[in-house]
């Protein structure tokens, strides 16, 4: 009978040994993560300021500020760990998918009750998470059904409350990321990441989870099944941002993948090619809200985009994962 130690030792991938993770951890943290949260805090600040001056849902100025801030969030939303996860902040930024329609129900209830929580940012932050964030604001700006409820003054107060809450949330994330960053760049006993490998694995998980979410949820929900496509389930379809979110997330994930694979030029090249194809397919798809998934041609194009993301996922798990010491175990990958 062989000893257990021997079995274990033989099964650890060779690539996992003795790599200096510090340069990549520093690069991803300083050049990829922190600027995204700083940018988000800036853009949401503009949104919160704009909405004080102009809360008319149809306003071009307001909608432009909304769009820029939402862009910044989508470009950071794959970094869903550490300060982003605290207090459900990521869900408070974008409560989606909303399979049970909690967002319109929550907003309608606020309007009907003229809930005074809109008068205090601290109070609004304590209301249902479904009534917070960019998808709630989208309802208020783009959903005609909302524009018919209650009175103009309350709707304006609600729009301001949601925008202010988004800004506060973004500021909190930005501030906390500044203080959390050393945990990633200096893993060890004082960090939740005890080694460079653990910190790298967190970043790798953010990459693969981000790819999975974009392929399976952002594209999978509107695709539905061939017999029953679901264009009404597309993310942010009312503001026609669904495809834009796919493109922005791919661009952000591509940047992160390039940094993570920096020490392995062949893998970096494979990832770059695959991302370029997916981004190209997204950019040439003329269907901003995936409304055409219920036509044969429209569906094929969205499926092709989804396939090209699956290809990136495959390269990440087969080529990149093992170099980062990611366990590729049969059960550890199962998630059941």
């Amino acid at each position: 009978m062989r000893s257990l130690t021997l079995f274990t030792a033989l099964l650890i991938p060779f690539g996992a040994y003795a790599q200096d993770r510090a340069p990549i951890l520093m690069d991803v943290t300083e050049t990829h993560i922190l600027p995204r949260f700083a940018q988000l805090a800036d853009a949401t600040d503009t949104l919160a300021t704009t909405v004080q001056a102009d809360c008319e849902p149809q306003s071009d100025t307001l909608r432009a500020a909304y769009s820029a801030a939402f862009d910044s969030w989508i470009s950071a939303s794959h970094l869903r760990f550490g300060p982003t996860e605290t207090d459900d902040r990521a869900f408070a930024m974008a409560f989606w998918p909303d399979t049970k329609g909690f967002t319109p129900k929550t907003l309608s209830r606020h309007i009907k009750d003229e809930d005074t929580a809109v008068e205090s940012p601290a109070a609004y932050a304590e209301t249902s998470i479904a009534g917070r964030g960019f998808l709630a604001l989208e309802r208020m700006l783009y959903d005609p059904a909302m524009a018919e409820q209650g009175n103009v003054a309350y709707r304006c107060a609600l729009i301001r409350a949601i925008a202010t809450d988004i800004d506060r949330n973004a500021d909190a994330m930005n501030a906390d990321w500044q203080s959390f960053a050393p945990n990633l760049t200096q893993p060890g006993d004082d960090s939740p990441y005890r080694s460079g490998d653990e910190a790298m694995q967190e970043l790798y998980r953010a990459l693969t989870t981000g790819l999975e979410f974009t392929a399976d949820t952002r594209l999978g929900r509107p695709l539905g099944t061939f017999e029953r496509p679901r264009p009404n389930r597309a993310e942010a379809r009312r503001s026609k941002r669904s495809l834009r979110h796919v493109e922005l997330s791919l661009i952000a994930l591509s940047d992160m993948a390039a940094r993570l694979s920096f020490d392995h030029p062949e893998i970096a090249a494979d990832l770059d090619t695959a991302f370029a194809q997916a981004i190209d397919r997204a950019q040439s798809l003329d269907d901003p809200a995936f409304a055409k998934v219920d036509t044969p041609l429209g569906r094929i194009r969205v499926e092709a985009l989804q396939q090209s993301i699956h290809k990136i996922r495959e390269i990440a798990s087969i080529e990149l994962g093992p170099t980062l010491g990611i366990s590729a175990g049969f059960n550890s990958l199962d998630g059941d």
């Binding site: 099964l11 399979t99 999978g220 929900r221 366990s327 175990g329 049969f330």
Partner: protein
């Protein structure tokens, strides 16, 4: 058969005695699904040292299986969101029946027979409504008789409470829809629970994980002969937190959550795959394939007894010396006081669960 008799003599609880029907196939002690080198997924019967006594192909990746309390029959499930389960005559290796989830539902991968062997219960997702249901099947004909609400979202494991007509269900709390694969759709609002129901589905008791634990998905169950329920969890919250992944609950009492010291708890990466009580019932363990770790606790004190490092460990069950385990690298082994001892190594990847063949009355 000497080994087997010795093994049985070592079992403390008479309730673990396998029924006679099983001896005809070379008396497997466990069932396990796995992936074999030719790419086939198979359900295998194992002896108490992990040797394969029979092996039957499955149409796709399996998850768990349920052994009939008296006949040499087992129901093997597809991995979620699968829609098939097959009833296998473990003597001949033939598929006797095929269960297909009704329209709008898929299986989660677990099921259990009633004590008298006349009914079979399956955990299912009624996915358009995002409601958990329990399918009720005639355990002879495997005709579907009906269904009832599971008492929550995402029912995963289900067990029969010993000496009763009561089921305990692990409602994991996570909403999924087959259109979006395994994507979790309701994490901010998820609310897992442990539901106790009678065989017609009336909820007798429900234990919810609320507050800071609301993202701790209850997935897998083990039941001790006195009705103590062990549950294993999978953390869906912030990964820099390391909450308990094992709970114990006795009806009418408050659940106890068991955790290793922070340093060791953080090895587990928030994910437990299987849970089992030891044969003497004094200890309870969880397997943690992401952390390549098995943690064993003392049931009475709730303290961590041992932490074993085991590559891709997941399957877990009661065994002659206390507990046995399988791994995704094909190993089968047992735990004694301080050591994990691998007794066989098959050329396959054992899947999540190891199912002891036993009567439950």
């Amino acid at each position: 058969m000497t080994n087997r008799r010795n093994f049985l003599a070592g079992l403390a609880a008479a309730s673990l005695t396998p029924a006679s029907g099983w001896s005809s196939v070379g008396a497997p002690v466990y069932l396990a699904a796995g992936l074999f080198p030719d790419g086939s997924y198979r359900l295998s019967g194992l002896d108490n040292a992990g040797a394969i006594l029979f092996s039957i192909p499955l149409p796709a990746r399996g998850h768990a299986a349920a052994a009939h309390p008296s006949k040499a029959q087992a129901v093997a499930f597809a991995r979620r969101p699968g829609t098939f389960a097959i009833v296998i005559d473990c003597k001949s290796g033939h598929v006797i029946k095929r269960l297909t989830a009704p329209k709008g539902r898929h299986f989660y991968g677990h099921g259990t027979f009633s004590a008298d062997g006349t009914r079979f219960f399956t955990t299912e997702n009624k996915y358009e409504a995002a409601e958990g249901v329990i399918g009720v099947w005639d355990a002879n004909s495997f005709v579907r008789l009906g269904e009832f609400a599971s008492g929550g979202v995402g029912p995963h494991d289900i067990r029969l409470m010993p000496g009763s007509d009561m089921l305990v269900i692990a409602n994991g709390g996570i909403e999924t829809h087959p259109d979006t694969g395994r994507t979790k759709l309701n994490l901010p609002t998820m609310l897992p629970n442990l539901a106790y129901v009678d065989l017609s589905g009336s909820v007798l008791a429900k234990v919810e994980l609320t507050g800071a634990q609301h993202k701790n998905s209850i997935r897998h169950l083990a039941v001790r002969s006195d009705g103590l329920v062990g549950f294993a969890m999978q953390w869906q919250g912030n990964q820099i937190k390391h909450p308990p992944l094992l709970g114990l609950h006795k009806l009418g009492e408050i659940p106890r959550l068991l955790s290793a010291p922070e340093r060791q708890q953080s090895d587990l990466q928030g994910y437990a795959g299987s849970i089992a009580f030891s044969t003497d019932g004094h200890s309870v363990a969880i397997t943690c394939p992401r952390g390549n770790t098995l943690h064993r606790f003392d049931v009475t004190s709730g303290a961590l007894m041992n932490a074993y490092t085991l590559e891709d460990v997941c399957g877990l069950g009661a065994g002659a010396e206390g507990l046995v385990f399988t791994t995704g690298t094909g190993a089968f082994g047992s735990l004694n006081a301080a050591h994990a001892k691998i007794s066989s190594r098959q050329d396959c990847q054992w899947d999540n669960h190891l199912i002891p063949i036993q009567t439950t009355d």
